[in-house]
């Protein structure tokens, strides 16, 4: 991780007033930032712009059709007041947090780490094959994965077929346990990312310390928790943040598998926002939900940065 403090100063500072030098530094800084411009332009127009517009839009009563489509009016925080008074909204917040914790924080991270560790200990050919399968699940286009998992959990699907074969009758998973189904589905889908991160991190851990501890009599568990884990702490924190925030935006998977149902039982915030904005035509109201989703993401991100201090340099 090299960065340059003085090497960038290729222009020899001319003799002169400190202000002259300062002005030159500022100019230099600006010139150096020029390559950033195309990216900043795209980001400002297509990401920052919509966020700002979203915040404004959530303060109107705009609809997709009807008189409020032609002439929406400013309603201040009415949409938010309605949201906070709505039990469906709070259920959705809870569902979203459950989804995040279960599938990303716990599911993908634990399984990814487990796989990374197992692959070090297992037969290389087998490890590579299993790794390939896990990665295929991740590279697959999202909607294909969604269909495959829908078919797996459907009441006449493969899961119940297998349970039948051992004499159990499975329930209609997508109706009776929709959150469980989508959580497992998201773990299936996203574990590869964590697995790759941890695999790389583990390969950077020098084995000497581990071996020394082993010779000293430390058990495998002790070695793992006391030595290995702390050494990959940085990767863990970065990965936690990335997987959490990625999972916050998951839409297609849940939409195809359960549509947010039955009722609103698996309607996480993105699903709720889509339904309100596009299906029920309540654009202003749906945007308010979206803004809150962004806020939740921002809070998670700030918590991670403060607490876990991921490496950015």
């Amino acid at each position: 991780m090299t960065s340059l403090a003085t090497a960038g100063e290729r222009v020899a500072p001319a003799p002169g007033s400190p202000r002259g030098r300062r002005a030159r530094e500022v100019r230099l800084g600006l010139v150096r930032s020029v390559p950033l411009l195309p990216s900043l332009a795209l980001l400002a127009l297509f990401l920052l712009g919509p966020i700002v517009y979203a915040i404004y839009g959530s303060l109107t009563n705009r609809t997709l059709t009807g008189p409020n489509a032609a002439n929406p009016s400013f309603v201040g925080f009415d949409n938010y007041a309605r949201l906070f008074a709505s039990s469906d909204f709070w259920t959705s917040v809870v569902l979203t947090v459950v989804f995040l914790v279960a599938s990303a924080i716990i599911g993908q991270n634990v399984l990814g780490l487990l796989l990374a560790v197992l692959m070090k200990n297992g037969t290389p050919t087998l490890s590579r094959t299993i790794a390939a399968l896990v990665v295929v699940a991740w590279v697959l286009p999202e909607i294909v994965a969604a269909f495959a998992l829908y078919a797996f959990f459907a009441s006449e699907g493969t899961l119940n077929l297998m349970l039948d074969a051992i004499g159990l009758t499975g329930p209609a998973w997508l109706i009776a346990f929709p959150m469980l189904a989508v959580i497992l589905a998201n773990v299936w889908r996203g574990t590869a990312f964590s697995m790759m991160v941890y695999s790389a991190a583990l390969s950077e851990v020098p084995p000497e310390i581990n071996e020394a501890a082993e010779i000293d009599g430390a058990s495998a568990a002790q070695r793992f928790f006391r030595i290995t884990l702390p050494m990959i702490r940085r990767s863990i924190s970065t990965n936690l943040m990335l997987t959490t925030l990625q999972t916050l935006g998951v839409f297609t998977l849940i939409w195809v598998m359960t549509g947010g149902g039955p009722g609103f039982k698996s309607a996480t915030l993105p699903i709720l926002a889509y339904q309100q904005a596009f299906n029920f035509a309540q654009i202003g109201y749906g945007t308010a939900i979206a803004v809150i989703t962004l806020l939740i993401g921002a809070i998670f991100a700030m918590v991670y940065i403060k607490v876990l201090k991921p490496e950015v340099d």
């Binding site: 609809t63 997709l64 059709t65 009807g66 032609a70 549509g259 029920f280």
Partner: protein, 465 residues
């Protein structure tokens, strides 16, 4: 290095050129160009874009358009018609349409519009008034007064030409009824009669779904119209009071209707949740489940036999012998004894169309006497043109026409207001929450009341309790 950069640059250029071509041809405009299509009617070239619904179960409109568009293009040199079929079920279809109206470049010229959306879309400024064109069209005289009203906006202008209308009733499978010992000329007089028959079937013919009533928001307007409103309007209560121009909240009939759904669900008379919440259920009921004898009693629309009579995927030649038809009763048999709901679809003109006159010509051609007859017979619509309704070809075409036309005297229409479509979504939410057991009828009704109040404001609601 130079090669990589050159390749990258060439690739980028290629990509941009391709996308510009791809984008340019289809939807035109990108800033500088301004609007791409259009010139005056009759001179130069023009493109008319038609947005409509097409699914594997609903191809009759596509058939009609293939025919009348061919006729239109032949008669109008230089004019191309671009058909834009939207393959989606109801709710998604309306969403897509609304999104298309967002900009001039994507807005369609001719639209397949549902009557319950027309006031709402007119108020949103999406539709163009057609009064001037209608005044010059002699076909318009053939349309019944009710049909002319169907396309009216709040301001009194007409925003759509009716393609046909429909009513709703009960279909039942006579073979299953025989197995259960129920009469072949069954006519329930009250809701309890329906529940009793369903319970008998559940007992005598156990592996059949006794009864279906659409109750999920994933079925969209079907759940409102063929489902809930068939119940509500049979209790004597209505959604909207035309005299006071206010929406009813706290209506006891609303709770009664929800209680019916709850009872049917608790007694196991309805399809299992995985089917009941399926967005494709209407297709599957009319196309497979009912013809294959897997569901005994359904509440559905008068257009359903259209698919059975066609050569398409829903073809069912034996329907006349197997399918019995009955009127939907009022809740306790009170006057007028039966209830039905009527809707229908229209052809509308998009307000951002560059060639509204050409668009109207296309509509007039597609709803000429000959083409209306074709569509109304093939799609099992109730004709709204007098010359079609009295045509012996029409009358002889479909044996169910007589029955469904007989329901017209007891039929109701949905509230013709711009906010109906949004309120309808709340009806579906209420029905589904009772269906899934997530709410009691009272709680669901209260949630509906609150939602309506939030949507239209407390001054537009009145307590009907």
């Amino acid at each position: 290095m130079r090669k990589t950069l050159t390749t990258l640059a060439a690739g980028a250029a290629l990509a941009l050129v391709l996308t510009a071509c791809g984008g340019g041809n289809d939807s035109g405009s990108s800033g500088a160009d301004g609007e791409s299509t259009g010139s005056d009617a009759g001179s130069g070239s023009a493109t008319i874009k038609v947005a409509y619904q097409k699914t594997d179960a609903f191809t009759q409109l596509d058939d009609l358009l293939q025919k009348c568009v061919g006729e239109f293009e032949a008669a109008n040199d230089g004019v191309t018609v671009q058909l834009e079929p939207i393959a989606a079920q109801e709710t998604e279809y309306f969403t897509k349409l609304a999104l298309m109206h967002g900009s001039a470049a994507t807005a369609p010229d001719v639209i397949y519009e549902d009557t319950f959306q027309v006031r709402s879309d007119a108020a949103a400024g999406y539709l163009a008034p057609m009064d001037d064109y209608l005044a010059d069209w002699d076909g318009w005289d053939q349309f019944s007064d009710a049909a002319k009203q169907a396309g009216a906006g709040d301001d009194g202008s007409t925003y759509g030409v009716s393609m046909g209308t429909d009513t709703r009733g009960i279909y039942f499978n006579k073979q299953i009824f025989e197995q259960a010992g129920l009469p072949a000329d069954w006519q329930p007089e009250s809701w309890d009669d329906i529940l009793d028959a369903a319970r008998t079937i559940k007992e005598k013919v156990p592996d059949v779904i006794p009864f279906n009533l659409y109750s999920s928001k994933s079925q969209g307007e079907a759940a409102s119209m063929q489902g809930f409103e068939m119940l509500l309007y049979g209790t004597g209560d209505e959604l909207y009071d035309y005299d006071t121009q206010k929406w009813n909240v706290g209506a006891p009939g609303f709770v009664e209707a929800l209680t019916f759904i709850q009872t049917a669900q608790q007694d196991g008379l309805l399809p299992g949740l995985e089917d009941a919440l399926d967005t494709n259920l209407p297709n599957r009921i009319s196309g497979e489940l009912f013809p294959q004898g897997k569901v005994a009693i359904i509440v559905d629309g008068s257009w359903v036999p259209g698919g059975w009579m066609s050569d398409g995927s829903n073809s069912w030649p034996e329907w006349q012998e197997v399918a019995g038809m009955a009127k939907m009763p009022t809740s306790t048999g009170q006057e007028p004894g039966a209830v039905s709901m009527s809707g229908g679809w229209l052809f509308s003109i998009g307000s951002q169309s560059k060639n509204p006159e050409l668009a109207f010509d296309l509509i007039a051609g597609c709803l000429s006497q000959e083409n209306s007859l074709k569509y109304d017979t093939e799609n099992s619509q109730i004709a709204v043109r007098d010359d079609v309704a009295s045509d012996p070809v029409y009358l002889d075409y479909n044996p169910s026409f007589e029955f469904f036309s007989s329901l017209v005297p007891v039929t109701h229409f949905r509230p013709a207001t711009p906010d109906y479509s949004q309120i309808s979504s709340q009806i579906q939410v209420a029905a589904e929450s009772v269906l899934t057991g997530q709410a009691s009828p009272e709680a669901a009704a209260k949630a509906y009341d609150d939602a309506v109040t939030a949507l239209v404001g407390a001054d537009k609601t009145q307590n009907a309790g």
